[in-house]
C-alpha cells in the first residue's frame, strides 16, 4: 500500500483566502465571525432569526476569477470550490506532473447551490415567474466537483460526497484510501459550502442549535454553533510520487475511520464517534497512546461537545484529560460540508508548524468534560499522531489520522 502525503493546500474562508492568511488567523485566534447585514428578502426587522452572527467570506468578487459563462452557470459554493482547488493544484504543481486521467477529485458538499435554489424558488412560488435555465447547474450538489474537473482539466474519478457536517472529512478520507490503494496516484480532496442564505438560516434557527451570541466550543456557558461558509482543498499523492518530483510535503495522512451511530437524526451517540476514532487510529497502524492532538468537531452545542468528550474518554481512558484538544469553529464557523476540510487543513498546518491552535471564545472550560482544551494561545507541540474529528447530523462520523512528515 502507498503512503499518502499532502503536497498542496488551498482555501477560501472567513479567516483568510490564502493559506498564509488562514494560517495567521488560525494561530493568532482572529475570528471570522461577525454580524451579518440584513437580508433584503426578510419580512421584518428581526429577520425572524434569534442570532445575528455568521462567519462569512468577505470581499469575494467572482468576476476577478472566472469567465462570465462560468459565473452565470455556478453558485457561490462551486466558485469557492474552484478557487481552493486551483490553489491546491498550483501549489503542488499537480497538473504538471500527473496526467489528467491519473488525478481524482473527491469533494464534500452537503447543501448544493442554496442561493440559486432559494432565489429561483421564491420567484416561482410568489409570482409564478420563469425559472432561470441554469438553475439546475447552479444547484446540483456535485457542481463543485464537476467545475473543478472542468477548470483544471482533470479526467480521473470525480465525485461529490454528501454526509452533512462530515462531508469534507469523508471526501478527504475516501481520496486517501484511493491513493493509498493505488487507484490513482494523486487527488484533490476537500469540501466547499455556502449555506448562509436567508431560508437556510431560518431553517437552522428553527432547530434552536445556533448560538444567539457566538459559538464557544467546550465552554461551560456554550449555547450553540455559529454557521459559516468556505472551502478548503488538499492535494494528496503517493509518497513515491511526491519524492520523485521533490515536492514539498506538508503532512502525511496515515489513517481514516468511519462509523454510523444508528441512533438519532440529530442527537449524537458517543459510541459512534468513539468507533470512528478507534478505526482511524487502528487504520494508521497506531495505538491510542500515540495521539497527541485532537482537532475536535466541537460545534459549541451542548449535545455535541458533551458527546464528543464522552467519546474521547471512551477511546483514551485516563489519558483523555491529558490530550490537547481544540475546536477551530470559533474562528471559521461551522460550514457544514466544508468544515471538515477546513479543520483537516488546520490540522495539517498544526503539524507543519508544530503549533496547536487555541480554542477561541471559551469563558470557562466546562469542568464536566474533563478535557485539556487549548486556551488563549497556540501550544507548541509535535504530536506523533493527530486526529481530525467530524461528527455529522444523522450520526455519520469520519475521523482522519495525520502526522508530521518525517521521511
Amino acid at each position: 500500500m502507498n503512503r499518502v502525503v499532502v503536497t498542496g493546500l488551498g482555501c477560501i474562508t472567513p479567516i483568510g483566502s490564502t493559506i498564509a492568511d488562514f494560517s495567521a488567523s488560525l494561530f493568532s485566534g482572529a475570528t471570522g465571525i461577525a454580524p451579518f447585514p440584513p437580508f433584503p428578502e426578510a419580512p421584518g426587522e428581526s429577520q425572524g432569526l434569534r442570532f445575528t452572527q455568521t462567519a462569512r467570506v468577505k470581499d469575494f468578487d467572482p468576476s476577478q476569477h472566472f469567465e462570465s459563462g462560468t459565473i452565470v452557470s455556478t453558485d457561490r459554493t462551486a466558485q469557492f470550490a474552484m478557487l481552493a482547488a486551483r490553489q491546491a493544484a498550483q501549489q503542488s504543481g499537480l497538473r504538471e506532473h500527473h496526467a489528467a486521467e491519473e488525478i481524482a477529485v473527491i469533494v464534500g458538499c452537503a447543501c448544493g447551490g442554496r442561493q440559486a435554489e432559494e432565489t429561483e424558488t421564491a420567484k416561482l412560488y410568489t409570482r409564478d415567474a420563469r425559472v432561470h435555465p441554469l438553475t439546475v447547474t447552479r444547484t446540483m450538489a456535485s457542481a463543485g466537483a464537476s467545475q473543478i474537473s472542468i477548470d483544471l482539466g482533470i479526467t480521473g474519478p470525480v465525485l461529490n460526497i454528501s454526509t452533512a457536517c462530515a462531508s469534507g472529512t469523508h471526501a478527504i478520507g475516501i481520496a486517501f484510501q484511493m491513493v493509498r490503494a493505488g487507484i490513482v496516484p494523486a487527488a484533490i480532496a476537500g469540501g466547499h459550502e455556502t449555506p448562509l442564505t436567508f431560508g437556510f438560516l431560518r431553517a437552522w434557527d428553527s432547530m434552536r442549535v445556533v448560538s444567539p451570541t457566538q459559538c464557544r466550543p467546550f465552554s461551560a456557558d456554550r449555547d450553540g454553533m455559529t454557521l459559516g461558509e468556505g472551502s478548503a482543498m488538499l492535494t494528496l499523492e503517493t509518497l513515491e510520487s511526491a519524492e520523485a518530483r521533490n515536492a514539498t510535503i506538508y503532512a502525511e495522512i496515515v489513517g481514516f475511520g468511519m462509523s454510523a451511530d444508528a441512533h438519532h437524526i440529530t442527537q449524537p451517540a458517543a459510541e459512534g464517534a468513539a468507533a470512528a476514532m478507534r478505526k482511524a487510529i487502528s487504520d494508521a497502524g497506531a495505538v491510542p497512546d500515540q495521539v497527541g492532538y485532537i482537532n475536535a468537531h466541537g460545534t459549541g452545542t451542548q449535545a455535541n461537545d458533551t458527546t464528543e468528550a464522552t467519546a474521547i474518554h471512551q477511546v483514551f481512558g485516563e489519558r483523555a484529560a491529558e490530550i490537547p484538544v481544540s475546536s477551530t469553529k470559533a474562528l471559521h464557523g461551522h460550514s457544514i460540508g466544508a468544515t471538515g476540510a477546513l479543520e483537516a487543513l488546520a490540522t495539517v498546518l498544526s503539524l507543519q508548524h508544530g503549533l496547536l491552535p487555541a480554542n477561541a471564545g471559551v469563558t470557562q472550560i466546562d469542568p464536566a468534560l474533563k478535557l485539556d482544551v487549548i486556551l488563549n494561545a497556540p501550544r507548541e507541540a509535535t504530536p506523533k499522531l493527530a486526529l481530525s474529528n467530524s461528527l455529522a447530523f444523522g450520526g455519520l462520523n469520519a475521523v482522519l489520522a495525520l502526522r508530521r512528515f518525517a521521511g
Partner: protein, 86 residues
C-alpha cells in the same frame, strides 16, 4: 438607437461584465466571446425583460446583437414589456 436595442445591449454588457459602449448592433456573439452558457443567460434575461418567449429554433440563428434586437422587436409586438427585471 431605439429602446429595445439599448436594453439588449445593457443586458449583454451586464452578463458579460463589459462596457455597454463596446457593443454595437453589428457586434457578433463570437466577437463578444459569448459562449453557450452566456447565450442561455442572456436569452433568459431578454425573455424576462421583454416578457417574450424566444422559440428554440430562433436561438440557434442569432449571430449578432442586431439579430437579437430584430427578433425581440418582432416578438414584442404581441407582448408588452415586463416590469420584472430579475
Amino acid at each position: 438607437m431605439d429602446d429595445i436595442a439599448q436594453r439588449c445591449i445593457e443586458i449583454i454588457a451586464k452578463s458579460k461584465g463589459i462596457p455597454a459602449n463596446s457593443i454595437t448592433l453589428d457586434s457578433t456573439f463570437d466577437s463578444l466571446n459569448i459562449d453557450s452558457l452566456d447565450k442561455i443567460n442572456i436569452s433568459f434575461e431578454v425573455e424576462e425583460t421583454f416578457n417574450i418567449e424566444i422559440p428554440d429554433e430562433a436561438l440557434g440563428t442569432i449571430k449578432t446583437v442586431g439579430d437579437m434586437v430584430r427578433g425581440v422587436a418582432q416578438l414584442s409586438q404581441n407582448h408588452p414589456p415586463s416590469t420584472v427585471t430579475s
